[in-house]
């Protein structure tokens, strides 16, 4: 991760994910699933958050306010797999639907706290939240 010291804006410059999905029959669609999961996890870490006003009205009700990451917000992912066949089903397969979303938020948040030398940055780590964390430190 790189952090712009002046604005708090972050950029992911490299991302590697290694998963064990048991036996993989079609690696291409599995990688596609991982890409989607990573985007979801990175979105949770950096941009996505629901906000409500004092009367309980959702104020992130459209995609102009609720920010899902788009292709140009994401790096090219480096993926690798280890195949340990599952012993509980005849195909030896494991689930991979949202695997990318499990590790990604923690990896991104740890990269940010490491870059800033702080213990805590609230999620989503928007530029403003990162800027505030820098100025608290």
């Amino acid at each position: 991760m790189e952090v712009d010291r002046e604005t708090g804006a972050t950029q992911i410059v490299g991302f590697t994910a290694v998963d064990d999905f048991g036996r993989v029959i079609n690696p291409m669609i599995v990688e596609g699933q991982v890409h989607g999961g990573l985007a979801q996890g990175i979105g949770q870490a950096l941009t996505e958050g629901c906000a409500y006003d004092d009367t309980g009205q959702l104020i992130t009700g459209s995609l102009a306010d609720y920010c899902i990451p788009r292709a140009n917000d994401l790096p090219l992912f480096k993926l690798d797999m280890r195949e340990t066949p599952c012993t509980h089903n005849p195909l030896g397969v494991k689930g991979c639907g949202e695997a990318g979303a499990i590790g990604a938020p923690a990896a991104v948040m740890n990269a940010i706290t490491d870059a800033l030398g702080v213990k805590d940055v609230p999620m989503p780590a928007t530029a403003q939240n990162v800027w505030r964390a820098m100025h608290r430190a």
Binding site: T47, D65, C67, I68, A127, Q128, R132
Partner: protein, 266 residues
């Protein structure tokens, strides 16, 4: 969306005539804000007067020290215009940063300025490049045009026909985008006209675009990033919303201004 009558005049005279008859009517320029507001039922005009086929309202004319852009010129056309790129490259670059590709191919300069969204990009350019907004009735100077949140000097049914920008010696626009909407969280347009005449237009930060006179003064004395780097903008009166606090916006004005000057000097 509520029902409305749709009109497609072929001349601005016909459009203005229609607008005069329909008290609850609205001009439809690029429709990038109005149509969304109608879909959300935040706006329900009785009549839409589509300006899309009025040829006389679109196009770019460069004459000596000014670039005149017709009100119905799309952002993508301004961004790609060889004439604009040659005369005011910073203006073409700014148009290329508006919204996304789809928005740039529909949205128009006249629509953007008539709407005066607090986070729209063009208002910063209009202020920094000391533009003149021409309507069917009069010419309005940049400093007289913006009146407040979504408010302008335009009267009901008054139609913007063109916007004329003064050509600076150098200039640049720096925008810190709201990552979701790609509107400006803060955008700063800096224009240096030479002999100590520098104008700084700020958008996204306040209820309506404004000039940052303290920075103009500093840059007039010395057109360099360090002239503004230490200026602390007061957060009083700046926008406070889900995306940014007044303090963060105030800070971004300084950073974006500094970066705009760096870019202008390249």
């Amino acid at each position: 969306m509520h029902a409305f009558q749709y009109h497609r005049p072929t001349s601005s005279k016909e459009a203005i005539g229609l607008a005069g008859q329909k008290a609850e009517g609205r001009y439809l320029a690029g429709g990038q804000s109005l149509v969304q507001a109608m879909k959300l039922r935040l706006s329900s005009p009785s009549d839409l007067i589509d300006l899309g086929t009025i040829k006389e309202l679109a196009g770019v004319k460069v004459s000596g020290s000014a670039v005149e852009i017709g009100a119905m010129t799309r952002h993508a056309e301004v961004a790609a215009s060889a004439e604009v790129k040659r005369a005011i490259p910073s203006l073409a670059a700014m148009a290329g940063m508006i919204g996304d590709r789809q928005v740039r191919h529909m949205g128009t300069i006249g629509g953007s300025l008539a709407n005066n969204d607090p986070a729209a990009d063009y208002p910063a350019a209009v202020l920094a490049l000391n533009a003149t907004v021409t309507t069917n009735k009069r010419k309005i100077g940049a400093d007289q045009y913006f009146k407040g949140l979504y408010e302008t000097a335009l009267e009901p049914s008054e139609l913007i026909t063109a916007v004329s920008f003064q050509v600076p010696k150098r200039g640049a626009y720096m925008k810190f985008k709201n990552p979701a909407s790609r509107f400006a969280l803060v955008g700063v347009f800096v224009a240096d006209f030479g002999s100590g005449n520098v104008r700084v237009g700020v958008t996204g930060a306040g209820p309506s675009a404004f000039r940052q006179t303290e920075m103009e003064k500093a840059l007039s004395a010395k057109f360099a990033p360090e002239a503004v780097a230490a200026i602390k903008v007061k957060p009083d009166g700046l926008n406070n919303d889900l995306h940014a606090s007044p303090e963060y916006r105030a800070h971004l004005i300084t950073v974006m201004c500094k970066r705009a000057v760096e870019q202008a000097l390249k």
